[in-house]
Symmetry: C2
C-alpha cells in the first residue's frame, strides 16, 4: 500500500519505519543495570515502590549522605512521578534501610573501598556499605532497578554484591578550547554519578584559554580567557558538588606546550618573543614555556602552590603533551643551555622541564599525572601516566614501575561507536601479559571529551550515552563484553540520563529544528529520517576535510554538529540485514521490514528537497540525502535480485558496487551509516546463493 502512495508536492506520504533491534528474548538482559554489578543473584517477586517509600540511614552518617538520600528520593520521585517525602526517615522501618560502616577519607583517594551489598526482597530493601562511597553507588543501583511493572513501580527481588574493577574511572572535559559553563559540568557530573564514575579530570588550560581564576597571577585568566573562566569560589563549589557524588576532581594545567593563553598575560614565560594572542585555531602550535628560565619555575612554584590549595585532590595533572619544539629550536639562549647541560634534544629538554615541575608538584604535596610524554628516563616512579598513545605505552610504563590510566580508545571526540569504545580494555593488548604486580599499576581509565567541535549546546550529546559504555568497561568484570546487551541497557540508561538534566537527546532535536526553520512536519520528519542514519566523520577527518580553517568562532549549527555521534537507526538496520542474510534470507517478514525501510529512504530525498532549497544548513546535506535515496534504490534492487534466486550479471554487480562506493564517501563531513549493510545485500545478490538457509 505504501507503494501506491505517490509523492505529490507538499502533500506527500512520509513513512517512518522504526526497526526493532534484532534481539531475541534470550539476549534481553534481565537487569537494566549499567554498569553491570560484580555479582547479582535473582530473588523471587519484587518490592513495590509507592508514595509511602522511605529511606533511613543507620551506622555512620554525615551531611553528605543525607544530601545523597534527598537526591536519591528526588530522582526516584522524578522517575516514578510519585509524590515522595524527600526527607530520610528517622526510624528503622523504612522501605530501604541503609547501613554505612564508616566515613570515607576526608579527601577522597583512589582505591578506597567503594563496595556495597544491596538486597531487595518483597518486604523491603537493605543497602550495606563499608564507606559512604559504596552507599552512594548502591543508591544509584537501586534507582536503576526501579521500573514500571504490571502492579505499579517496583524493584526486582535480588541480591547484589558489587565493587569496581578499577579504582580510577574518569571523564575528562576540555573546558579550555570551548568554555563549558558550570551548570553543564554539573549535569555531566550527575551523569557520572549515575554510572559510577569517580574522577572528573578538568582540563583547564590550553592555547585557546586559561579558565581558572588565579589570584596570584590574575593576568592569566583576565587576559587569557575572553572573560570566560571559573572563579575560585565556583571551583570550590564544583569540587564540593563532585565530592557529594563520590567524584574526585583532578585539575590539569597543561605545560610546557598547549599554553599560548598563559603567554597573553605572561609572555615572559614563553620561549618566543611574543607578543601572544589567544589562539583561535585548532592544532599543535609553536608557543612553549622556556625550560631554561628560572623565573618560569618560580612562577610555576607560586601558581602550582595556589592551585594545589584550591584543588584538594592528591593528584595534579601537568599535561606535557604535544610540544613541537619550534620555539626552542629558534631560541639561541635555549640552545646554549641545552649544550651546556648536555641535553641532546628537545625530548631531553622536556624531560628536564618535567623533572623540575614534578619536584614543584611534590613540594606542594601532590602526585603528578601527565600524558605519555612525561614518561622519560629517570622520572620518579610515583608519577601517573595517562596514556593517549595506546595500550602498549601503558603496559610499558607498568613494566617500568609506573602507574597508568588508559585514555587511548576512550577519546569521545573521535566519534567512535559505543561498541568500539566498549571493546577497549585497559587489561587487553600488551597489558594482558603483565605480571599481577604490574597489573596493579594500571589504575583504570578516563574518557576524554576534547572540545574543538563541542560547545555547551552539544557537549552532552558528544559525551552521552557512549560514556556510559566506557563507565561499564571500567567498573564491571572484563568478561562483561556482549555489545548487544550493552546497547539494550544503554538505550534504557540514555533515556534516564535526560531526567538528570542532561540534554543529549533533546538538544539534538532542538538543533535540527533550528536548521529546519519553518519546515512543515512532513519535511522535518524527512530531515529526521536522513539525520537518523548519518554520523559525523570519524577520528580527525573533520579537521582534514574542513572547507575553511575552523576556529573557536566558527558557528556550530550544522547538521554535523547537531546529530548524535552514533546512529541507533543505522546500527539496527545493520543488525536486521545480518539477521536476514544469515538466518532466513527469504523470510518474508524480514524482507518486508527491509523493503519498508529502503522504500522510505528511496523516497525521502524528494520530500527533503524543497526544504534544502529554503535552508542553507539543510542544503549542506543535499548530497547525503541523494545518497540515501540511491542507497534505498540499491537495496531494493538487491532484494529483488535475491528474491529471484538467480545469479545476476557481473555488470549489475559492478554497477551497484560503484554506486555504493560513491555513497560511502563522506559528504559535508558526514557518513551514511547503512551503506555497508546495503553493500552486503548487493554482494549477496551478486553471489546468487548467498543465503545460508534454503528458501522455506
Amino acid at each position: 500500500m505504501a507503494q501506491n502512495a505517490r509523492l505529490q508536492g507538499l502533500g506527500m506520504l512520509v513513512l517512518f519505519v522504526l526497526l526493532s533491534p534484532a534481539m531475541t528474548t534470550a539476549q534481553q538482559p534481565s537487569l537494566n543495570l549499567m554498569p553491570l554489578p560484580a555479582n547479582a543473584q535473582a530473588g523471587t517477586g519484587s518490592l513495590g515502590v509507592d508514595s509511602s517509600f522511605s529511606v533511613t540511614f543507620t551506622g555512620h552518617t554525615e551531611p553528605r549522605l543525607e544530601r545523597a538520600g534527598e537526591r536519591f528520593l528526588r530522582q526516584l520521585a522524578r522517575q516514578t512521578g510519585l509524590p515522595l517525602s524527600l526527607t530520610p526517615a528517622k526510624n528503622a522501618k523504612a522501605t530501604l534501610v541503609i547501613q554505612t560502616d564508616h566515613a570515607s577519607k576526608e579527601i577522597q583517594e583512589a582505591g578506597e573501598d567503594e563496595s556495597y551489598v544491596l538486597e531487595v526482597t518483597t518486604a523491603g530493601a537493605r543497602l550495606t556499605a563499608t564507606t559512604s562511597l559504596g552507599t552512594m553507588h548502591g543508591l544509584q543501583t537501586f534507582l536503576q532497578l526501579v521500573d514500571v511493572s504490571p502492579g505499579g513501580f517496583a524493584a526486582p527481588a535480588l541480591k547484589i554484591q558489587d565493587q569496581p574493577r578499577f579504582r580510577w574511572r574518569g571523564l575528562m572535559i576540555d573546558t579550555a578550547r570551548h568554555f563549558i559553563p558550570l551548570d553543564v559540568i554539573r549535569r555531566n557530573i550527575d551523569g557520572m554519578e549515575a554510572v559510577k564514575m569517580n574522577v572528573f579530570h578538568w582540563h583547564l588550560s590550553e592555547n585557546q584559554g586559561f579558565r581558572a581564576e588565579s589570584k596570584k597571577f590574575p593576568k592569566l585568566h583576565e587576559l587569557g580567557s575572553d572573560a570566560l573562566y571559573y572563579t575560585q569560589d565556583e571551583i570550590r563549589d564544583l569540587i564540593a558538588y563532585a565530592r557529594d557524588r563520590g567524584i574526585r576532581v583532578v585539575p590539569e594545567f597543561d605545560m610546557p606546550g598547549h599554553s599560548t593563553a598563559w603567554f597573553v598575560g605572561h609572555p615572559e614565560l614563553a620561549s618566543g618573543k611574543g607578543p601572544y594572542e589567544i589562539e583561535r585555531r585548532w592544532g599543535i602550535f609553536d608557543p612553549a614555556m622556556d625550560p631554561t628560565n628560572e623565573k618560569v619555575y618560580k612562577f610555576l612554584d607560586d601558581l602550582i602552590g595556589e592551585m594545589a590549595k584550591l584543588f584538594p585532590d592528591h593528584y595534579f595533572h601537568i599535561g606535557g603533551d604535544e610540544v613541537n619544539g619550534k620555539e626552542w629550536d629558534a631560541n639561541a639562549k635555549i640552545q646554549a643551555f641545552m649544550k651546556a647541560h648536555g641535553l641532546k634534544n628537545n625530548e631531553a629538554l622536556q624531560a628536564y622541564f618535567s623533572g623540575r615541575v614534578q619536584k614543584l608538584v611534590t613540594k606542594h604535596g601532590k602526585t603528578v599525572v601527565g600524558w605519555d610524554e612525561v614518561l622519560v628516563e629517570g622520572v620518579p616512579k610515583d608519577i601517573v601516566i595517562q596514556s593517549w598513545r595506546g595500550q602498549a605505552s601503558l603496559a610499558k610504563a607498568a613494566k617500568q614501575g609506573y602507574r597508568g590510566i588508559l585514555s587511548n580508545g576512550y577519546y569521545l571526540d573521535l566519534g567512535w561507536s559505543a561498541a568500539r569504545h566498549y571493546a577497549v580494555d585497559p587489561m587487553s593488548g600488551d597489558a594482558a601479559n603483565l605480571s599481577p604486580e604490574e597489573k596493579q599499576r594500571i589504575l583504570g581509565g578516563e574518557s576524554c571529551m576534547w572540545a574543538e567541535y563541542v560547545n555547551p549546546e552539544n557537549v552532552d550529546s558528544r559525551i552521552w550515552p557512549r560514556n556510559a559504555a566506557i563507565a561499564e568497561r571500567l567498573w564491571s568484570s572484563q568478561e562483561v563484553r556482549d555489545s548487544a546487551s550493552m546497547y539494550a541497557r544503554l538505550d534504557f540508561v540514555s533515556a534516564r540520563l535526560e531526567w538528570l538534566g542532561l540534554t543529549h537527546k533533546t538538544a539534538s532535536r532542538h538543533m535540527l529544528q533550528r536548521l529546519a526553520g519553518s519546515a512543515s512536519p512532513v519535511e522535518f520528519a524527512a530531515l529526521r529520517t536522513l539525520t537518523d542514519v548519518i554520523e559525523p566523520v570519524k577520528d580527525y577527518t573533520r579537521e582534514q576535510t574542513a572547507p575553511a580553517v575552523p576556529t573557536s568562532a566558527t558557528p556550530m549549527n550544522r547538521v554535523v554538529d547537531a546529530i548524535p555521534l552514533e546512529s541507533d537507526a543505522g546500527r539496527r538496520f545493520g543488525e536486521l540485514v545480518d539477521q536476514f542474510l544469515t538466518s532466513a534470507c527469504h523470510d518474508p517478514a524480514l524482507e518486508a521490514r527491509l523493503r519498508a525501510q529502503l522504500t522510505i529512504w528511496r523516497d525521502n530525498d524528494a520530500i527533503l528537497q524543497p526544504l534544502s532549497q529554503r535552508s542553507f544548513l539543510v542544503r549542506e546535506v543535499a548530497a547525503s540525502s541523494q545518497d540515501l535515496s540511491a542507497l534505498g534504490s540499491a537495496g531494493l534492487a538487491a532484494l529483488d535480485a535475491i528474491g529471484k534466486g538467480q545469479t545476476v550479471p557481473d555488470s549489475w554487480k559492478a554497477q551497484q558496487l560503484a554506486i555504493l562506493e560513491q555513497v560511502k564517501k563522506p559528504k559535508a563531513q558526514l557518513l551514511l551509516i547503512p551503506a555497508p549493510a546495503v553493500q552486503k545485500l548487493a554482494e549477496a545478490a551478486a553471489a546468487g546463493g548467498a543465503c545460508s538457509n534454503p528458501k522455506p
Copy 2:
C-alpha cells in the same frame, strides 16, 4: 507493501505516518509572527544575520533595556547557533538600531503606549518605540522574523507598525493547588514575553495553600503551605524579572471563600468552629471568612497593607468566587448579624464583605480586581471584574460602568483546542453591541491555568502552545481569526518556545518514557502512535469520572497527565479526511495517505499489548489502544465501501456506527480524537454517493 508485513511477535513492523496538514501554499502565512502585527508591509529582499550582528540603543536608555538587549542577543545566538557578541554596540552602525523615545512608567500601568515600528531592509533594521515597552515588544518581533534561509540566517525586509488591541493581556497561574517553583514561573514569563502578554496574575492563596510569606502573620504560610511558599525576597525578584519583560504582576488573595489554608494558622478568621487543616481534595468547600467579625477586617487591613507594599502593581485581586455559604448558614451569630443589618441572603452578606475589603484595598492605594461575584449592587465603579462566567456578564458589567477582563473561554485547564480558545473574543457576543465608551471598559483578557491536575513537570504543556493563540487574540486585530494560519504559526512558535527553557514538548516525551519503562523502541513508537491521537477529557469531566477521589497527593504520572491537551496528529487527520471527502474523494494519493494511517492504527494494538502487560500505566490505555485498532479497521472498511461507489446495506452502516459510538466514549479519562473523522468516512460510505466531486 506494508500490507505484506505481518506482525511477528517482537520483531514486527512499525509504521509512523506523519500526515501533513491539508494546507495549500496560499494558506501558508508569509510571516511566522505570533501575535500577528497590526500592520505589515513586505519589502524586497532580506537582512542577513551573521556573527557580526549587533544592536545599539539610542534615545532613552535604562538598565532594563540593556538587559533586554543582552537577552535578545542571547536568544538570537541560540536560535541561529551563531557566536554573537552579547554586548550592545556603542556606535550607531549596528545592524539593528533601536530608538526609544522615553521611559515607561515607574510602575507599569495598564494602557501605557506599547507601540513600536520595525523596519527591516537589506542594509539594516531600525526599531523605534515611544516607550521601553514598545522596544521590548519589537525585539520579540525581530526574533520571530529571523529564520534560516537559502543564503544564511535572515529577516525579511518589511515594515511593521504594531500596537496591541487590548491593554490587559494576562496569564493567571494557580500556584496554590499545586505549588509551582519559581524557575517554572520564570520560564513561563519568558514565554509570555515572547508572545507579548503583559500581566502575570499570581493566584497565591487557596483552600490547598497560602503561598506568600507574610511577615505580619507568619502562621499563614508556615501552617498553610506545607513549607511550599514564596519568600518576600523571591516575590520581589520575580516582580523585577517580570518588569524586565514588560509584564505586570497582579497578586490574588482569594477571599472570603477558597481560604481554608488561611484558617489552619488563623481559625479566628473563619465562620466555622475549626480547627482547620489544609484541604487536600478539589472542589468548592464550606470554610469562609466571617464577614461579621470586625477582627477579620483588622487582620485584612494589616495583611493587604503588607501585600500592597510587596506588590507594586496598581491592581490587587481579592478573588471573591464560589462561596457556598454553608458556614454562614450554620453560624447563629452571622445569621443574627444579617438580620440586624438587613442583609437578606448570603449574596448580600458577601457584597457587604466585598465592600468592606474594597475600602481596605483602596485605602492602601490599589484598585480591586475580583471575579464576577464581587459585582453586586452598589460596588464602586472603579473595581475591575474578571469574568469567569461569560461574555454576557462582562458586557453587563461594562454597561453598568465597570471595567472588565474576560477569562471565560480562556481556561487552559479545560483542555480546549487552541482553535476553540482562539474563537473567543472579548468583543464578541453581548460585548459586540456595546457603545464605544462601554467597549473601552473591556480591558482585555486573561488565560487561566487552574492547577488541580497540573504540577511543575507538566504545567508548561498545559499552558503552551495554546496560550500563544490566546495571546494573539488579545493583541491582534479582531479580524485575525483564520485558525489554519494560527495553527501553522503556532507550530513554529511552539518549537521556539522550548528554546526559552519551556518544556511543553520535551516533558511529555519524558513522562511517556517513564510509563513505558524499558519498552523496546518499537513498543515505545507504538505508544507514541496511540498517545499522539488521544486527549484528556474536556471541561470538568476528569473530576466527574475519576476512579478515586483525586487529591493533591495523587500521582500525576498517568497517560492523561503526560499527553498534550491537544492532539496535532488528530487535528491533521481530521483535515485530511475533510479534504478527501470534499475536494477529491477518490484521489488515490489522499486515499493512500488515509489508508496508511488507518493501517498503522489498526495494527498498533498488537504491538502495544506486550507493553501494556508489563506496565500498569500503559495498561490503563489498553482499551483506548483497542479502540484505535477498531477505528483503523472501521476507517479502512469505509474506504473500501467508498471505493466501490455503491450503496452499502443499512446493516453495515448500523454496525459501523455502533463501533464508532463505542470508540467515542471516553476511557481512562481519554478521548480518541480521530473518531469523528472516521465517522465522517463511515457516513460518506453509507450515503453511497457522498463525494462532491465525481470520480476522475
